[in-house]
Symmetry: C2
Subunit: 632 residues, 2 copies
Amino acid sequence: MTELSVRFDSTTEPVAVPAGTLLVDAARLVGVDIQQPCGGQGRCGRCAVRVASGNVRRRSSLRLSQEDLAAGYALACQTVVEGDVSIEVPPPEQIERRLTTVHAAPEAVVPAGYDPAMVQTVRQVVLELPHPSMDDQTDDWGRLTTALRVATGIDRLDCSLEQIQTLGPLLRRSHWDVAVTFEEVGPEHGRLIAVAPASEPLGSWGLAIDVGTTTVTVWLVDLQTGRVVRQASEYNRQVMKGEDVISRIIYSTRGEGRQELRSLVLETINQLVDRVCGRGDVKPEVVVKAVVSGNSTMMHLLLGIPAESIRLQPFITAINHPPALRAAEVGLLMHPDGAVDVLPGVAGYVGADISAGVLAAGFHESDETTLFIDVGTNGEMVLGSSDWLVTCACSAGPAFEGAGVEHGMRADTGAIEEVWIDAGTYEPSCRVIGGTAPRGICGSGLIALIAEMFLTGVLDKGGHFNRDLETNRIRQGEHGLEYVVVWGGETEAGHDIVVTTVDVDNLLRAKAAIFAGFIVLADRVGVPLEAVQRVLIGGSFGKYINVEKAIDIGLLPDMPWDHFDFLGNTSVMGAYLALIDRSARDRIAEIASHMTYIELSADNSFYDAFTSALFLPHTDLTRFPSVAAALT
Amino acid sequence: MTELSVRFDSTTEPVAVPAGTLLVDAARLVGVDIQQPCGGQGRCGRCAVRVASGNVRRRSSLRLSQEDLAAGYALACQTVVEGDVSIEVPPPEQIERRLTTVHAAPEAVVPAGYDPAMVQTVRQVVLELPHPSMDDQTDDWGRLTTALRVATGIDRLDCSLEQIQTLGPLLRRSHWDVAVTFEEVGPEHGRLIAVAPASEPLGSWGLAIDVGTTTVTVWLVDLQTGRVVRQASEYNRQVMKGEDVISRIIYSTRGEGRQELRSLVLETINQLVDRVCGRGDVKPEVVVKAVVSGNSTMMHLLLGIPAESIRLQPFITAINHPPALRAAEVGLLMHPDGAVDVLPGVAGYVGADISAGVLAAGFHESDETTLFIDVGTNGEMVLGSSDWLVTCACSAGPAFEGAGVEHGMRADTGAIEEVWIDAGTYEPSCRVIGGTAPRGICGSGLIALIAEMFLTGVLDKGGHFNRDLETNRIRQGEHGLEYVVVWGGETEAGHDIVVTTVDVDNLLRAKAAIFAGFIVLADRVGVPLEAVQRVLIGGSFGKYINVEKAIDIGLLPDMPWDHFDFLGNTSVMGAYLALIDRSARDRIAEIASHMTYIELSADNSFYDAFTSALFLPHTDLTRFPSVAAALT
């Protein structure tokens, strides 16, 4: 048999192998390490190498694009040598970047030409007031408001009694030289937030807050520059009183439940505020505005408004467009007279998070037919373009946020965010956020895990474990069968990280609800699947999502990958935009007012669509041709 | 000597008397009782009778007008018979009405064509809301505000978080049939006060409140009819912490003084509210609006606003036009979301009581040059017409309100409100409010008393007691000389009611300050005394004032009596008008904005004018020709 020479760029000596040798085997001979997380099945694409010269035969090129092939890429586990070849092994990061179906959520970008005086609703001006005298006995308040009118055109300034009570001594202590912070609430109409000596002006900081059912996110924004300075997320402490909005509402109606839930979410937010403020680095008193987004139930519970009518047919909110509020009445840790803007929602199950999300997703500027899905504890979706918007909501549960899952966690350091399973050994390999020892599995990791378990036969299409496979990773656990993702010896806490049959069921129901919502919404407005030009995905998945695996499990429709964009937490992004740009705020209100809400519970086809979607990827495999291809 | 026949209409038989007999003596012979409170001096005019036929000679007709004389009136103590005469003796009430220089302050009159929906700023409408359904999932607040907009044109409705918190359960309990009470705060702009089931609508009651330095007055108004239903006045409990605004301000700057004074005035007001509400007859929760008037210091202290700058040069208030407030933040006993409108003032010493008083006095409709004096603890005055207004203030002290005087009291049942002293015996006769045993002396009684004491020689022009008169009523008291007005045996409490040398000094200073202010104000704008066509007098004098006696002591300028009008408490009257008529409220704001304030403390001539006025009636007797005439 002809010996052929294979040279890897990372070694000095070529290796001689027979024709037909797999590139991975040749590499192993000279000690070149090529990743094969899928166990050499040609599924994961992680073993991609570039054939610099020489002949090879590609048995499969599943993960490679036409451009990749033209550039000489080949899957090392699926490619055999047919002549002397020279092979370049890209560093693992490069493969990861090029090959993975990972989309990074965009960072908050300060709009070009940002001018705090023009776009914010909170403004700060320095006023040098004329000193009072026997010839000018104008009252303190008149002196202040006249100077403000001259400087800003604000003709009417609302204020609280407390502010008037402190004004006189403050003006005198400031020697009539003051920095005035106010909120513009209408044309030539303001509301006073604070008066401070010009020599010690109040800072100008804002908060964008997303109150999710499971996760609360707070961004600290420097309103002078528009920059997001710090971000923090934490589980909503209300979780201990119920995992979804329905159980929260039920809890809120019992005894002191409403007050209790209000306190819990305020504790969560305020601890996050304390954290983003660097525990005193930025004093909370200089935070003068907060924009709050979240689903309607969360907004009601945050504001102490009874939410029971949201739960009961016909599912009515107390208020979709809350009025402008003061921080002190809401209970937020910031300047007590700071402005709190709770963004407007659409209906009981389509809240401010969606109005804000639609803005953040850029719908209002798009002619393309777009599907926007916000996957949090509820799955809300919006279909439309700049001209029209329809929306619906379905209950997904908190699984995608890593909650309600045995070893679930948020997409934070130590979370398993990507998994591959060797189809021969059923051994998994994982990518962990921060590269540390794993602590648990986040939403994207769970999606990958279910997809891999399904594709390798650990799970059947009904989501049942195959107990006949030869692996000790499938075992009887406390709550039925489970799959060990990481052995205790390799984990941070020292015990096994598993995914249980209960977890799988939760995830199946969650993905089925979302997919069914999508199907029903499209059917109702008569827009065929193929007409959707973009799929924008917001929510608390974490930063990276594997589209292919989300399609594999039937969570997302089977479309070309470039149709998808992952936008991250569009709710907090929308709140951020409303915080720094008053026209964005106005657009959110317009979006909330003009979106057409479709009540799924009044739609009989939803339950059918849900039941059909309770399989991997779906009872109707023709809806998922790429998954069908991968299975064969 | 010729016997002449005198017939009195109240007797059947004539009496025969010699020519030259006084009518009072003829009357005494047949047992006809003719009052002579001044002891037959021809001063008081109470003995006026009508000569129906026959000849008499009038020695003096001091109290009688030309019309009176033409009608045949004569003073019985000054008129002698010169032929057979027939005499009509009018009932005492009729004399009182015709002769006394008493002017009753007008009662609050509901404006003609009063329509609560058109003139009030607080409105109540019944709304039958469409029930929510799966086809109409409008939020509760949207449902309410849409119906309100259709019914009233109110496009924007402000509300508190608490109101939203209670809305949902209330709408459902009301079966979507509700009575909405709101305040109109601008064009198409309202503020929600209350939502109640249409079957149990909130009443619609209002309060007009005058917070005087010494006296607080509360009127309860039925806003449906505009009628004043009950009135009550009480001393401001702050009095115990200082009698005038200066001592109050000083007290307020010490320790918890500001909070203490705020609590004291709130206690006073709220107890009066409780009283006018009939201790539960009208529930305070159905009181939905209050309009508050008072001087600037009182308004600051009521609202807990530091007032120290009012005391210190250049005498600056913190705020002249307070914003719209909620009852709960002010602390008033009424619906917590009720509207509290604290009326606008002009300067530190010309407050809302004057802006409101000018409106109540009707200045804004008058072409006559008018002097308006509000005599409370401070004496504020306004000179002008519908075209121009100038104003100043001087400190009078609380004597005219019966406070700071040994046996002073408010003009209430048991108060001596009119006094005559017999020039021969120095025995007084008194009129007591309610006709009961006397309890003390009110402001008008004190003025009459000082005037009578001066005219009968009990006091000299310097205000010193004449200890040489033959009467036991002048005696050495605990604090110097005093005059016994009523012996203990005739009083309610059983001890003597006296006026002391200290009381006289207080009253002299009070009247001197007011008269000096008037002189300086007129001089400054170059309007001679004679050019003043009307003198309007507001304040807490009580209901009746004797113009002649006020002139006698030099409190009021010596003008024909018909130039004077006593308007009573113009401050509370202005508050009442603002409560029931939004255009009146607007006019008060205009008045406050356009009045020119003259600072007397910056005027050297004030002290001279004050010193000259510290005499009875004045150092310059030519300013008081009618008093000079009475003295001779």
